[in-house]
Every structure is written in structure tokens, then in C-alpha cells.
Amino acid sequence: EDQVTQSPEALRLQEGESSSLNCSYTVSGLRGLFWYRQDPGKGPEFLFTLYSAGEEKEKERLKATLTKKESFLHITAPKPEDSATYLCAVQGPYSSASKIIFGSGTRLSIRP
């Protein structure tokens, strides 16, 4: 069964303290791995798509990387406004309009 596991569940950092969030996945025939940001009471906000091992994407203080078994979201010199839950999701080789399967997320809190 396809599965997405994220760690840690929660992470508290000081402003400027860099770290990484982990997403390990098992899916037969990965079509895409996605990172989303979710603020409390809001919908997931798209950040990155990664399609193949070795691929990297960057946006401001965030950088996502992908291997054959896991993905990392690196956050460099975070600011309090980066506090949110970060969700990892995968899309497998299903039908058209394929679903994506989400992990439980990492709750990131940045202290000023």
C-alpha cells in the first residue's frame, strides 16, 4: 500500500536556525512528489513538485530534494512567518485525475 511518512511531527527552531524536514515514501511508480504549506484553518498551499531522484527545487528560504525513497525540505535561516505545517504528498501511477496521498505533516514553529 502506498504510504507517506513525515518526521519529525513537530519542530521548534529559533529564528535563523536552519534545519530539514523529512518525507519517506513507498509508492509503486512515482509520478510526482509534492510539498505544501498549510496554515491553521486554511487549505494546502502548493510549494514544489519533484518528479525524479536527484531533482532539486528552491523558493526563497526553502529547498526541496528527492531521492528514490525520501524527500527533504531544507529551510535556511527561517523567519517567524515560516511557521506552518508542511505537508508532503505523492502521486502514483493511477488513472487520469490521479489522487495524491498526503503525509501527516511536520508542524514547524519559528521563535523570534
Binding site: 502521486q91 498526503f102 503525509g103
Partner: protein, 115 residues
């Protein structure tokens, strides 16, 4: 920037009542989805829709649920007889990727409370 919109933002209903949740996907997207998130839990897939028919549905999406694209812009989720356990955030999403591959863009959600 184009975005997915959803109405209402919050719906309160009595158990056994019918509710319709509405979504306007991004205008040039062809693939549409409903997901839900029970408080404190994962976002979970309900149903996908393409070319005016259901493409895939989860075990959650039983006979009490239905989806419709009544016109060229709206996409709706109907729950015929709500149960307490249907209380959740419901998210609509759309995708423009070829064959439904690629990122899905989510709306702000409708919080459904069943009393």
C-alpha cells in the same frame, strides 16, 4: 493569480440533512478533486473527476456522496444525509497537468459541522 474558490466557508447542519458544498476550480483546469481533513488528521482523498465523470473514488465516498459539474465553472459535492462523523474541512482542488499528472491547487476549504 488564478485560485480555487469555495463556498460557504463554514456550514453548520443537523444530522440527517443534505448539504451541498460548492467550488469554482481554476478556469483552464480539467481535473477536479475533493479531499477532506478531520481535525488533527491527514488530508484524505474523496473523489476525482474528469471529462464529466468520476475517475476514482475512495472507500469514504459511499452512496451518501455525489459530485456534479452543473455548468462550465462550478464543481459541487453533495452529502445526502449527513452524519456526525462527516464533520471536517472539505477541500476542493484542481489540476491542469497532462493526464492529471502534477500539482493540485487547493481551495480555502469549507468547514462542515454536523450537530
Amino acid at each position: 493569480e488564478p485560485e480555487v474558490t469555495q463556498t460557504p466557508s463554514h456550514q453548520v447542519t443537523q444530522m440527517g440533512q443534505e448539504v451541498i458544498l460548492r467550488c469554482v476550480p481554476i478556469s483552464n483546469h480539467l481535473y477536479f478533486y475533493w479531499y477532506r481533513q478531520i481535525l488533527g488528521q491527514k488530508v484524505e482523498f474523496l473523489v476525482s473527476f474528469y471529462n464529466n465523470e468520476i475517475s476514482e473514488k475512495s472507500e469514504i465516498f459511499d452512496d451518501q456522496f455525489s459530485v456534479e459539474r452543473p455548468d462550465g465553472s462550478n464543481f459541487t459535492l453533495k452529502i445526502r444525509s449527513t452524519k456526525l462523523e462527516d464533520s471536517a474541512m472539505y477541500f476542493c482542488a484542481s489540476s491542469g497537468g497532462l493526464a492529471g499528472r502534477g500539482e493540485q491547487f487547493f481551495g480555502p476549504g469549507t468547514r462542515l459541522t454536523v450537530l
